[in-house]
Amino acid sequence: MAALGMNADGLRRDERLERLRLFGLSSPALLLILVVLVIPVGWLFYVSFIGANGQFSLENYERMINRSSYRRIFFTTFQVSFLTTGLCILIGYPLAYFISQLPAKLANLCLITVLLPFWTSLLVRTYAWLVLLQKQGLVNSWGMSLGLWDEPIKMVHNMTGTLIGMVHIMLPFLILPVYGAMKAVDADFMKAAANLGASPRKAFWTVFFPLTTPGLFAGALMVFILCLGFFVTPAVLGGGKVIMVSMKIVSNIELFVNWGAASALGVVLLVATVAILWVASRFLNLDQIAGGGH
């Protein structure tokens, strides 16, 4: 009996070792993320609390509260993020609904139109809008030749251009989870609602829509978070008139070499992102967003 017990202990020890060794397979990945991301960001966190005189100070954070230019940057960032998310919902939800109702073959074809921009380079798409929306661009020349407006409208290097570009880039992030949620709705529910006397509109808003809200929240959350830290599109299409936090961080480093100010902005951005994810995780299964579900 004693020998058997020792044997069992040994087996258990072997299994523990085996599991640890398997866990060790992830160490190159973990190490890389630690060295290139976690430690440097940790250092930025530290630097954000160091003032110009090299001592501990909160001046980098006080600046954000006291200076109106900083307050405006935060306002713009949230404004762009909210507007982009809202527009994505208004445009993406109907399209996802349309595709979800098509027969499989046609639906796959339509999904390609959603996935194609997803695969195309962000910079290429931003450039495309820059070319289309400029004064001599296609949209203006077509609009004027159709008599819709008389003089070239300024559609780029401002908020309009930024929003058009951002919505175009973010739409797939909203459409894909919403489409997934819609495909999961049992068609019999709608039949039952109709059978019980609900008008089509009522059946949609009281049965179908509530069932798709988890996908809608997940997509909207993803879009909002991505918008908060977005850089390329507002930098190119905003033309210096739409200044978001990420752009201020870059100019603080590139123009002013002020690591403290840049780090503090970065920390605020990161804390805002994590806070939003944390609040959302209380209502949603976040694994779903990361794609780790099922």
Partner: protein, 274 residues
Amino acid sequence: MGGWFSKPATETQVTHGQRMWLYVLAVIIMVLLVAPTLIVIPMSFSDSQYLEFPPQTWSTRWYNHYFGSEEWMQATATSLKVAVLTMMVATPVGVLAAYGLHASRVPYVRAAFVLILTPMMVPLVLVAIGAFYAYVQLNLLYTITGLVLAHTMLALPLVVIVTGSALKGYDMTQEDAARSLGAPRWQAFLTVTLPQIRFAVITSALLAFLTSFDEVVIAMFISGGDNPTLTRNMFNALRDQIDPTIASISTVMILITTLAMVLAQVFGQQKPPK
């Protein structure tokens, strides 16, 4: 046609005619999603400075400018080299991590998974200036190695998520069977598991390639000197003025991306070796 309009389209008996607005709206949105990118291709063959569509006179002048410029060619070579190397590093490292985390079931798995997802959660600008600082200390600034490491870090969450979800749908007892027949674990993985999660691994490799090839913000900070990437140079050119050369470069980038996707499809569809 009239019959189709009055036919019910949904379970609640709404007819096709009644929701014509939805069809029109959906088609407009789909055109707006695809057209802006595709329109760049014919425009890049325009002879005009303002990139007309349709071009009044066709020419390859912007391509001549791109392919004749040593600076652009070098940047393209750097981007391709970095993207291929990122794919070759991120795929095995990410697949190993996904497999390790899936199979080990130790209590730290959850924490490790969160750590691997952090590159997706941290704003890219913060990642970029952090890497910039770290590379100054590590002497990796403006090097290919530095770019590959940073892009690998960025691609890892995608590889782990895609491969990990394939492993969740895979029956691990098949590997146990191979091992009970005497195969060591690595052999069981390579000959039994890997062929079955092949498609996810190839998709991961494609995602890693594209992540690196498209990346702008990190490259803005840590590429430069002798090794600026294509996207870095493009971004700088866009900030100054609308250079029509960018249209030809965009077309080449669309071509490379499409080629990568087609290759992934071809390799992914092949039957596993018997």
